[in-house]
């Protein structure tokens, strides 16, 4: 227990801060922040597995997050039957063509020795395949996108329960990580960072621009939810009774019946949004706790020791007969799958899929800051990092605004500097995060909660 003292202290402070937000701003905002903190925590667990356990630098977090989000659309949205009728065949044919290209390229690579001719034939197969794909896909895509373009214009999903998509998101992200890992894991650390960053960018641009897949930048809204809807809650008997019971002391102060009814209505509306968010919090908390237990067990298992050995000294581990390439690939897949899961969770929470919003700043670099600030190699640290950084990211603007108002309070309202500063308050979050990262890197490079190695 003594070992965990600072962990408990750090988490208590964090929860206290969120409660403060609940008191000063509103409980709904506090719960939104908490939910996003939990999602960020899942992402940081994924990134921490790669960076903290194995020392792999993966700047492609954005790509896996987007893929997880895509999974939600592909799984939970009802299929658009008409789109399948007009263009489904072309799309299926395209999938077969892609499979064929991969097999032909593999065949050429395996069968022939390394030579210029082999390179050229691989290139020509790929180029020819792309042209064939374009020719096959074009009429199908056009037909699909013209099916009621304002509402659908895409193939839709499978119409399955949304929670199922979390698993699919993890699987999708994991299989993508397998491909990327095969390509890029041999690179040196900073090359790997750049390569993964750019590959993630390619993935997002595909999701953005292939409208037949998930409507691209036109967004998919109104996704299914694993929690009840506010509207349904507001009309259901038991919920109104529950709210009335909770607030009975407040309500009893109001005398007139119509005022009482109005106050109750307002309370029910507020409470319904809080209730829905609480449902999400419960779900997310379950995921975080399960992941935490699993990763914690893994970290102190023989496998975890092996990973740390590989991280700290690749050559020595290799000399001991550990297969470094295989282990790196495995951990790359595991970490990415967890990030994909987080991406699916986030889209489920939002209820909408907006490919245009996937930007490396928010989905790669901020997550990395979380891992480094929280503590690399320590799961409790990584989760805490997710909480702290997300909290700062959201609350930096209001705090900056408050401070600006405080320091410029003796300046007149129309002072140019003051107006300019107040307008740019939202951008102070970048400053806070950046300076925070630089300070942590300099003075506490292991993060807030450093890695702890338990010696048996």
């Amino acid at each position: 227990m003594k070992n965990y003292k600072n962990v408990i202290a750090a988490y208590s402070i964090m929860i206290f801060l969120i409660i403060l937000v609940g008191i000063f701003q509103s409980w709904s905002i506090a719960l939104t922040i908490l939910n996003y903190c939990l999602i960020s925590a899942v992402m940081t667990i994924g990134a921490n597995i790669q960076w903290g356990y194995a020392g792999l630098i993966n700047f492609g977090i954005m790509g896996y997050t987007a893929l997880g989000g895509l999974a939600v659309v592909l799984v939970s949205v009802e299929p658009v039957k008409k789109a399948w009728q007009v263009g489904g065949l072309n799309i299926l044919a395209c999938i077969w063509i892609i499979v064929a290209i991969i097999f032909i390229v593999k065949f050429i690579l395996n069968r022939f020795d390394k030579s210029k001719l082999r390179n050229y034939s691989v290139a020509s197969v790929i180029l020819g395949g792309i042209i064939l794909l374009r020719v096959t896909a074009a009429p199908g895509i056009e037909a699909i996108e013209s099916v009621d373009p304002a509402k659908t214009g895409f193939l839709g999903g499978m119409g399955l329960p949304v929670l199922f998509s979390w698993i699919v998101g993890a699987l999708l992200a994991g299989s993508l990580a397998f491909v990327i890992g095969k390509i890029a894991l041999g690179l040196r650390a900073d090359y790997l960072a750049i390569a993964t960053l750019l590959i993630a960018e390619i993935i997002v641009s595909i999701i953005k621009h292939e409208e037949w897949l998930a409507r691209g930048v036109k967004n998919v809204i109104g996704l299914k939810r694993p929690a009840p809807y506010e509207i349904d809650l507001q009309t259901s008997e038991w919920f109104i009774n529950l709210v009335a019971k909770f607030n009975s002391s407040k309500l009893s102060l109001i005398n007139s019946i119509s005022d009482k009814q109005e106050a109750l209505n307002q309370m029910v509306i507020n409470a319904s949004s809080v209730y829905v968010k609480l449902c999400f919090t419960g779900l997310f908390l379950t995921v975080v706790i399960i992941l935490l237990i699993v990763t914690q067990k893994a970290l102190y298992s023989p496998w975890g020791r092996k990973m740390r050995a590989i991280r700290d000294n690749e050559e020595a581990a290799s000399a001991m007969g550990k297969n470094i390439v295989k282990e790196h690939l495995l951990i790359f897949i595991l970490g990415s799958a967890i990030v994909g899961l987080a991406g699916a969770m986030m889209v489920t929470n939002d209820g909408l899929f907006t490919p245009g919003s996937y930007r490396p700043m928010r989905y790669t670099f901020v997550i990395w800051v979380m891992v480094i600030v929280g503590g690399t190699g320590n799961n409790f640290g990584a989760i805490l990092g997710g909480f702290v950084v997300w909290f700062l990211w959201v609350e930096a603007a209001p705090i900056a605004l408050f401070l600006i108002n405080l320091f410029t309070s003796n300046l007149p309202e129309t002072n140019a500097v003051r107006v300019h500063l107040i307008e740019s308050a939202p951008y102070f979050r970048f400053l806070v995060i950046g300076i925070g990262l630089l300070l942590i890197m300099r003075y506490r490079p292991q993060g807030i909660i450093p890695e702890k190695i338990i010696k048996q």
């Binding site: 630098i57 900073d190 090359y191 700043m361 970048f430």
Partner: protein, 336 residues
């Protein structure tokens, strides 16, 4: 005649824009490569540093315009570049003093440097947005075109015209001047040679009495010049928007790696490789082909290999292919 028209279509819509865009990328890529060669890390703050320098040029341009100082037909921004460069170098040296130098002395691994540069990226981005705001700004003044399509058609009597924007010409000319001076400096002067020596083998360079502080200082000075000029030229040609500059970091990285990271000449050519690939792959060849083929064979489709949405994806795919086949880049940079 048709053949000539076809060539002019291709020239107007691919070669000229690609040359201009390539020059802008090349300057950025040399910046990345220099930092990588001498200071030994991948600088993730590249795009934002370019943006930072450009910001001063934009502010000064507005200031000069309000004073009535201008260059006539040339954009005022050219006049402000020296001042912007000074501010940029100052900022870079401050950052180096308070951030990077600590890790350099500690001989931290490149990954740690990269993470630190992410921190610098956040701070720089915040400063830019706080000082000038995130909105889109055009600061081009003076003559807009050197050759207009209509004039060209009148003179030559062809059905297709060439448009040459003054910014494109300025970009290409300025890039050539800056890059040639830089290569002269790196290859012919004693300081340049000491920089290359330091980059090749730090210990040997130290042994032969090269002052590392001086090398680092000169590197940041050159980096500041390249970053600011590259940024201003891009801003003049398109427009100045901080977010776009951050995104430009990605093709710039691709250019630097494709050319062989750590090799300035490779980075220079890499910029053009990326630019030409992006534009040639996403260009619709319909008009070009329709001039070459007899009328009844005219194609129906746009004859586009990939839609322009995938412009960035093209350059990144090239990078991935290069990393796979020839990780040291086309022109043999540092080995991985």
């Amino acid at each position: 005649m048709d053949f000539l028209n076809a060539i002019i279509v291709l020239f107007n819509f691919t070669v000229i824009p690609a040359l201009a865009y390539g020059s802008q990328l090349a300057l950025g890529a040399i910046f990345v490569t220099l930092i990588y060669a001498v200071l030994r890390f991948a600088n993730f703050a590249t795009g934002d540093m370019m943006s930072f320098g450009t910001m001063f040029a934009v502010i000064l341009t507005y200031y000069f315009q309000s004073l009535g100082i201008g260059l006539g037909v040339l954009p005022t921004a050219l006049l402000t570049i020296p001042f912007a460069i000074l501010m940029m170098i100052l900022y870079m040296l401050i950052i180096d003093k308070f951030v990077f130098s600590y890790y350099r002395i500690k001989k931290s691994p490149p990954v740690q440097f990269a993470m630190v540069s992410v921190g610098v990226m956040f701070v720089t981005q915040a400063l830019i947005r706080i000082i000038i705001g995130p909105s889109d700004r055009r600061f081009l003044d003076g003559e807009k075109f050197i050759i207009k399509a209509t004039e060209f058609k009148e003179i030559t009597g062809l059905t297709e015209g060439i448009t040459l924007k003054s910014t494109q010409a300025i970009t290409i000319i300025v890039t050539l001047i800056v890059v040639s001076i830089m290569f002269w400096f790196l290859n012919r002067t004693k300081t340049g040679t000491s920089m290359r020596a330091y980059s090749d083998n730090e210990d040997l360079a130290l042994l032969s009495g090269i002052d590392p502080k001086r090398v680092v200082l000169i590197t940041w000075v050159i980096a500041g010049i390249l970053a600011t000029i590259g940024g201003v030229l891009y801003g003049l040609d398109k427009s100045y928007r901080p977010f776009v500059y951050f995104n430009n970091m990605l093709p710039i990285f691709a250019a630097a790696i494709v050319g062989g990271i750590g090799n300035p000449f490779g980075a220079f050519l890499g910029g053009y490789v990326i630019a030409f690939a992006e534009i040639f792959v996403t260009y619709a060849y319909k008009r070009f082909i329709s001039y070459l083929l007899p009328e009844h064979l005219e194609p129906d489709s746009l004859l586009q290999l990939l839609s322009t949405d995938y412009k960035f994806a093209v350059s990144f795919s090239i990078l991935v292919v290069v990393l796979l086949i020839r990780p040291s880049g086309i022109f043999k940079g540092k080995v991985i």
